[in-house]
């Protein structure tokens, strides 16, 4: 059998390209194998109950020691809609969507952005993060930022390091005066969040991107379609 150097390089190159393409396709098709996933935390924001009081955002800032110039959670006010005196605002929660197929985890060169297999929460390893900001650019929800204290990427982690560690609900859920936020484990058959998911018309932001967010929305009936 004749094997020239050129032939060898050609075959090796093709093989490597094939393996790389296969691995990528496999990884995309099977986001996370989760037989050992103990929990899958989700959050439901009921816009029909939200009054835009910002109590959640303030509680989040206090609990997680978020510096003033950045925020993990913001409530954006849209509107007013309708004719006076029947006018309504519409409140949108902006925070990490805890995507199952997270673009930030995909692009992070060091693995500092990762999905905790035990809880399904997307977390940041401050030490591993070098601050390239690729995750901030990749996040289609624009909720990541550089924490001016740690110089690492930061964002909502459902209070994993603060409230959840103490066995409590996330700060925003506790602070909400109208019960517009529901938090729980979607793998638990008896959880309230699961009943809500099965009974209410929930949507997710930018579903077409295939990110499979774990923050669900019960949309406000007062729409914002301009004709």
């Amino acid at each position: 059998m004749q094997t020239s150097k050129r032939h060898f390089l050609k075959c090796t190159g093709t093989l490597l390209a094939g393996v790389a393409a296969y691995r990528l396709a496999y990884a995309t098709a099977h986001p996370e194998a989760k037989p050992d996933a103990a929990k899958q935390y989700i959050l439901i924001h009921d816009q029909t109950q939200c009054i835009g009081c910002d109590a959640c955002a303030i509680a989040c800032r206090q609990t997680n020691q978020v510096p003033a110039e950045v925020s993990r959670l913001t409530i954006v006010r849209h509107g007013p809609y309708g004719e006076y005196p029947n006018q309504q605002y519409h409140f949108e929660r902006q925070s990490c969507q805890q995507c199952e197929n997270a673009p930030c985890v995909m692009v992070c060169p060091t693995g500092a952005a990762y999905r905790d297999p035990q809880t399904g929460i997307i977390k940041v390893d401050d030490w591993k993060c070098v601050g390239c900001q690729y995750c901030i650019a990749a996040c289609p929800y624009q909720v990541r930022f550089i924490n001016p204290v740690t110089r690492a990427a930061d964002k909502c982690d459902f209070c994993a390091e603060t409230k959840l560690k103490q066995g409590e609900l996330p700060a925003c859920v506790q602070a909400c005066p109208t019960q517009a936020l529901q938090f729980g484990d979607s793998l638990d058959k008896d959880a309230q969040v699961r009943k809500t998911l099965n009974s209410a018309a929930v949507i997710r932001d930018n579903e077409s991107l295939g990110t499979r967010p774990k923050v669900f929305i019960i949309a406000d009936a007062k729409g914002e379609v301009t004709i």
Binding site: L9, L24, V130, A137, P140, Y141, A152
Partner: protein, 270 residues
């Protein structure tokens, strides 16, 4: 909101310069290889244009990487990017390509200039002499791998940006090809310019050879730009909006038509 500052901007202009420098390095190396392999053969080390490419390639890639490190929020932690890898991250794969590319770039330059360096060293530093002889023997394999690596480096910068789902204009399959061709032509232009400045002959066979490849590449680049924007317009929605912002009326429209299409691509063709 202005042309240089807007909400969705994460990577500022230094990153654009890095992407440009990486493309130039890849392009200069690509044309140096073609020049030696298809035109000059054994006399490559005498050519001012090969010399120009061998100066431009390392300097631009080092400068680019320097910018990249300084632009991190934790520049002193840059080594972590070399220690921890994520095979699904374009940036991580790019770091691997950049590292291997630099090794082979220096190996190739050393192999091309092996004889002159050995003459200059004389009988001193035997290990270096041995290494140079060995590199010169391995020249064929180094050339082949470096050619693949330079093409990978040129395309990687495009993949880096097309992996961003939040940017309708960049999240585009044609982008890596456009970056590759643009980097190759920029590298060729850089090598030609510095070659002439180093007193290379503007009507030499090297210049003719580079033009014979570069001019068709510019035509391909124009058709890829056309495909790129047609793709955006036909996709509709935010992609169409992005295309209008880039090439419609407004600051960036002027930059595109006058700068890129006019000065960048049409003038060299004329």
């Amino acid at each position: 909101m202005s042309a240089f500052h807007f909400d969705s901007l994460v990577w500022h202009w230094p990153i654009a310069i890095y992407l440009f420098l990486a493309g130039i390095s890849a392009g200069a190396m690509f044309f140096a290889i073609l020049l030696k392999y298809a035109c000059l053969k054994q006399t490559a080390h005498e050519s001012k244009f090969i010399l120009a490419a061998c100066i431009i390639a390392p300097i631009s890639v080092f400068l680019g990487l320097g910018i990249l490190v300084v632009d991190l929020t934790k520049p002193l932690d840059f080594w972590k990017i070399l220690v921890f890898y994520n095979p699904r991250s374009v940036m991580s794969v790019g770091v691997i390509i950049l590292m291997i590319y630099q090794v082979f770039m220096f190996a190739w330059i050393a192999a091309v200039y092996a004889k002159p360096i050995q003459t200059w060293l004389g009988l001193r530093f035997t290990p270096i002499n041995k290494l140079l002889t060995w590199l010169a023997q391995q020249h064929a394999s180094i050339t082949g791998l470096l050619l693949i690596l330079s093409l990978s480096l040129g395309a990687y910068t495009g993949f880096l940006l097309s992996a961003l789902p939040g940017y309708p204009m960049l999240n585009n399959p044609v982008l890596p090809l456009l970056f590759l061709i643009s980097g190759l032509t920029s590298g060729a232009a850089g090598a030609l310019l510095l070659g002439v400045l180093l007193k290379g002959q503007p009507d030499s066979k090297e210049v003719k050879f580079i033009h014979k490849i570069e001019i068709p590449l510019i035509l391909v680049e124009l058709s890829i730009i056309f495909t790129f924007f047609m793709g955006l317009v036909l996709s509709g929605g935010q992609k169409q909006v992005a295309a209008a912002t880039a090439i419609g009326a407004g600051f960036w429209g002027w930059v595109f038509w006058l700068g890129i299409i006019g000065v960048g691509l049409s003038v060299p063709l004329a």
